[in-house]
Symmetry: C2
Subunit: 440 residues, 2 copies
C-alpha cells in the first residue's frame, strides 16, 4: 500500500507518522513544495520577537527522524498533472503513483489587492522564511515603525512581539472591531483597549488605499490619514493552498478549501484531505467553516491515518475554540458569537458579566469578563468568550467543555463543582454567576 501525502505541515507529517505507527509495511511518501517539514507555525511571531533564538525549536521533528521511522520526504517538490483517475502525478517531472492520496497542502497568507503593494517590499508570516526575514529586519535599528494590515491572531501576536522588542506598531483593520467573526463587541472592545494600552496604534474600520515608496520609507495612505513606516506586514487571513486543484473534479468550498466528510475523505475515491486546506463542520451551526488551526490539523491527521489503516475513525467537527495571549491578558472563545447565532436565526439568550478572578484578600486580583450564549429553544449553551488575566483564563476549559458537549444549562450545571481555593478563584466563580444568569 503506497500512501502519498501532499504537504509536510502539521497535518501531512501527522498523517505520515501515525500511519507508520499503525502499519509499518505501508509505504509513506511526503511531497513538500518548500524546503522543510513539520513547522510549528504558531511559534513564528514569538521567534520574530526573540522569545527564542534556536530556529530548530520551530520544527517538531527533523526529516532525519521521519526517515528513520520509514517515511520518505521529497522537499522542493514540483507537483503537476495530478490524475485522480489513474492515481498518479508528476513530481519534479517524474511519475509517482499512489494507492491513497492525502491532500495536506495547508494555507498561505491571503494578500489583499492594495494599490502600490507590488512596488514595495512587504512581508507575511506563514512560512519559516517569512519569519527569518522579519526577525532579521525587526532586530535592525533601521526599522522603527511597523505597519501590520489585519488584526487577526497573527497580526495581534506579531504586534505584541514587536512591541516587546521596542518597535512602534500600527495595525490597520478593515472591520470596526477586532475579529467580529470570533468575538462579540464587548470582548473586542476589551482587546482593543488592551492593545492601545500597550501602545499599539489601531486604525479600525480603516484600510490602506495605497502604498507609496518614499526613499527608505513606505507611505501608507489610509482612508483617514497617511502614515509612514519602515516595514509592512500583511496579516489579512489565510487562503488554502489549492490553486492547482481548482479546476479538478475535487469538490471545493466558496473560498476554494477542500470539502471533506467526517472521515477525512474528499469526493474523490481514495483521496483524503485535512488541515488548513480544508473546511470543516462547525458542530453548532452544522455548516462548513474555514478554521485553519493547529488543533484541527492534529486531530484530522489522526482520523485520516486511522481510516487509511482501516480503523474506523471520525472527526467530530469544531467549535472554533481559540485562546490568545495579549501582553498580560488572555482571550478565549468557543462556539458561536451572538452575532453568528443571530445570522443563523437561533433564538438566543446572552449574558455578559465582569467579576474578579480570585479572592480579594490575595494579591493580584484582576478583572475577568465572560460572555455566554445559550439557545433559548433547548437551553443548550452554544457560545462563550472570556477575557482576563493570562493566568486565570484557562478556567475557560470549563466553557469549551460545556459547549463541546452541547450541554443543557440546568440548576445542576449552575452548581457545577469547580475546584476552589483563594489563589485561583472565588467560592462562586464567574462561571457560576454567568450560568445562573442564563437560568433566570
Amino acid at each position: 500500500m503506497k500512501i502519498v501525502i501532499l504537504g509536510g505541515g502539521a497535518t501531512g507529517m501527522g498523517v505520515a507518522a501515525k500511519i507508520k505507527r499503525l502499519k509499518k509495511d505501508y509505504e509513506v511518501l511526503v511531497l513538500e513544495t518548500g524546503n522543510y517539514v513539520s513547522l510549528g507555525a504558531c511559534g513564528l511571531p514569538y521567534f520574530v520577537g526573540n522569545e527564542f533564538e534556536d530556529k530548530k525549536m520551530l520544527f517538531a521533528r527533523t526529516i532525519e527522524k521521519f526517515n528513520e521511522s520509514g517515511i520518505d520526504v521529497i522537499l522542493n517538490s514540483k507537483i503537476s498533472n495530478i490524475n485522480f483517475e489513474n492515481k498518479k502525478m508528476l513530481v519534479n517531472s517524474k511519475e509517482i503513483v499512489y494507492d491513497k492520496l492525502v491532500l495536506a497542502t495547508g494555507a498561505d497568507a491571503f494578500i489583499p489587492k492594495i494599490k502600490g503593494l507590488e512596488n514595495i517590499e512587504y512581508h507575511k508570516l506563514t512560512k519559516y522564511e517569512d519569519a527569518e526575514k522579519l526577525k532579521e529586519l525587526s532586530n535592525s535599528n533601521n526599522i522603527k515603525n511597523v505597519l501590520i494590515v489585519g488584526a487577526g491572531f497573527i497580526g495581534m501576536e506579531l504586534a505584541e512581539n514587536l512591541i516587546n522588542i521596542g518597535k512602534n506598531v500600527s495595525i490597520v483593520e478593515l472591520e470596526n472591531q477586532i475579529s467580529s467573526r470570533l468575538y462579540d463587541f464587548e470582548i473586542s472592545e476589551l482587546i482593543k483597549n488592551n492593545l492601545e494600552d500597550n501602545n499599539i496604534k489601531l486604525y479600525l474600520g480603516n484600510s490602506v488605499k495605497e502604498f507609496i515608496s518614499k526613499e527608505s520609507k513606505i507611505l501608507a495612505r489610509l482612508n483617514s490619514e497617511e502614515i509612514e513606516c519602515d516595514l509592512v506586514v500583511i496579516a489579512s487571513g489565510f487562503k488554502p493552498n489549492t490553486e492547482s486543484l481548482i479546476n479538478s473534479e475535487l469538490e471545493l468550498s466558496s473560498n476554494n478549501a477542500i470539502i471533506v466528510d467526517k472521515f477525512g475523505k474528499t469526493n474523490i475515491k481514495d483521496v483524503y484531505a485535512g488541515g488548513d486546506c480544508c473546511v470543516i463542520e462547525n458542530i453548532i451551526t452544522k455548516k462548513y467553516c474555514y478554521s485553519p488551526l493547529a488543533t484541527v490539523a492534529s486531530k484530522q491527521a489522526k482520523v485520516i491515518a486511522n481510516n487509511i489503516c482501516d480503523i474506523k475513525s471520525k472527526f467530530n467537527g469544531t467549535i472554533q475554540s481559540s485562546i490568545i495571549k495579549l501582553f498580560d491578558k488572555g482571550v478565549a472563545r468557543a462556539g458561536v458569537t451572538e452575532n453568528e447565532a443571530k445570522l443563523n436565526n437561533l433564538n438566543i439568550k446572552t449574558v455578559f458579566i465582569k467579576d474578579k478572578d480570585h479572592t480579594h484578600y490575595l494579591k493580584g486580583q484582576k478583572d475577568i469578563y465572560i460572555k455566554l450564549i445559550m439557545n433559548k429553544d433547548d437551553n443548550v449553551i452554544i457560545g462563550g468568550q472570556m477575557y482576563g488575566d493570562k493566568d486565570s483564563i484557562l478556567r475557560f476549559y470549563c466553557i469549551a467543555t460545556l459547549i463541546w458537549n452541547k450541554t443543557k444549562i440546568t440548576e445542576s450545571i449552575e452548581q457545577i463543582d469547580l475546584p476552589y481555593s483563594p489563589p485561583f478563584s472565588k467560592t462562586y466563580d464567574i462561571i457560576h454567576i454567568a450560568l445562573s444568569k442564563l437560568l433566570v
Copy 2:
C-alpha cells in the same frame, strides 16, 4: 414568617442574604455563638502568612450591612433547649420561636487525643481568633520552629505561609502519603516532593505520642524520634459543630454531621441544614461524604433559601472538587480516587501521565501530571487529579466538568476542541493524551 438561622458562617449568612432578597417581609434572625459573622475562613492561612494585613478583608460583609438589609444578628448567643416540636429555643436565657430553622453551625478543628496535649499551648486554625493569635506568634522572632499535626489543606497551606515568613516547619501526618482520601499515590508523591523541596520537613506515617513542655520549648515525641519546636498547630481535620444536637431526634451520620436531603431538609419538619455541619451526597459513589468546603456551603445556602421561599431548588451533590496552591505549583482533583473506586467495587481503568504544560519554544515550560479514572462498565469518567505549575492548573476545569456531567469517554470527547496557543498549551493537550489513553 420567621426564619432562625444557627450560625453566622458562609452557609448561615448566605441563607439569610438570599432569603431577604427573595422575600423582603420574612423575618430573618441569625444566632452566632462567636463574636463575628461572615468569616472567609479559607483566607486564614494567608492572613497568618502576612499575605494581607487588614483583618476586615477576611469578612465578606459587615454586620451593619446585614442589618441594613433587614437581617438581625445576635452575636455571642448561648443557645439551649432547642425544642423542634414547639419550634422554640432559649437564646441567652430568652425564648425565641421560629417558623423555619436553619442549622448552619459549621465545624471546628478535630483535636486528636495526644498525651500531654492538655499541658501545652497548642493552636488550630478555624476561627478568626485562632488566626490572630497564630499571626502574632508567627511574626515574633521567638518562634522559629513550628510543628503542624496533619497534612490536609489547612496544614499544607499554613506550612507554605509559615515558610514564606521564614519559619522552620515540620508536618507530622499519620498516613503514609499526603491525603490518601483525596489523591492517589502518584499525586501524593508529587506533593510530598514539592513540600520537601520547599524545606518543609515531613514525617509521614508517623504521629505524636506525647507532647512535653520543656522550658519555653515543646518537645514532641514521635513514633520515630523526638523533635523540639516553639509552636504546635493541630490541623487534623474537622468535626461538625453538632454537640448540642447529638441526643436530639435529628438524624446524624457516623461522624455526627447532619443528614440532609437534596432540598437541604433534615428529618425534622421545618428544620434545614447546610454547610460544614452536614454530610452531602457524592454523585459518583452515591454515598454521603463529609466535605466541609466553602463551595458546598455557598451552593447549599442558595438551595435552602430557595426552598424556604417556595422556589423548588435542589442541591445536586458533590464530586469533592478541590484545588490547592503549594508554592509555585497547583494540585486539583475531583471525583473518586483509584483507591476509593476500588473500595466501591467499581471496575475501573486508570491513566497517569506526565507531559509539558505548553510549547517547548516558549519560556517557562513546566511538567504537568494527570491521573484519570474511568468506569470500565460504561466508560464514564469518574475521577481526575492534576499536578502542575500554578498558572497551568486551571485547565483542570475541563476534567471537573467532564466528571460533573458523568461524561462517557468516546472518540468525540477525545477530540474535545480545547483552545490552544503556544503560551497556554500544546496542540494536543495533556488532557487529550490522557483521554486517548483511556480509550485504547
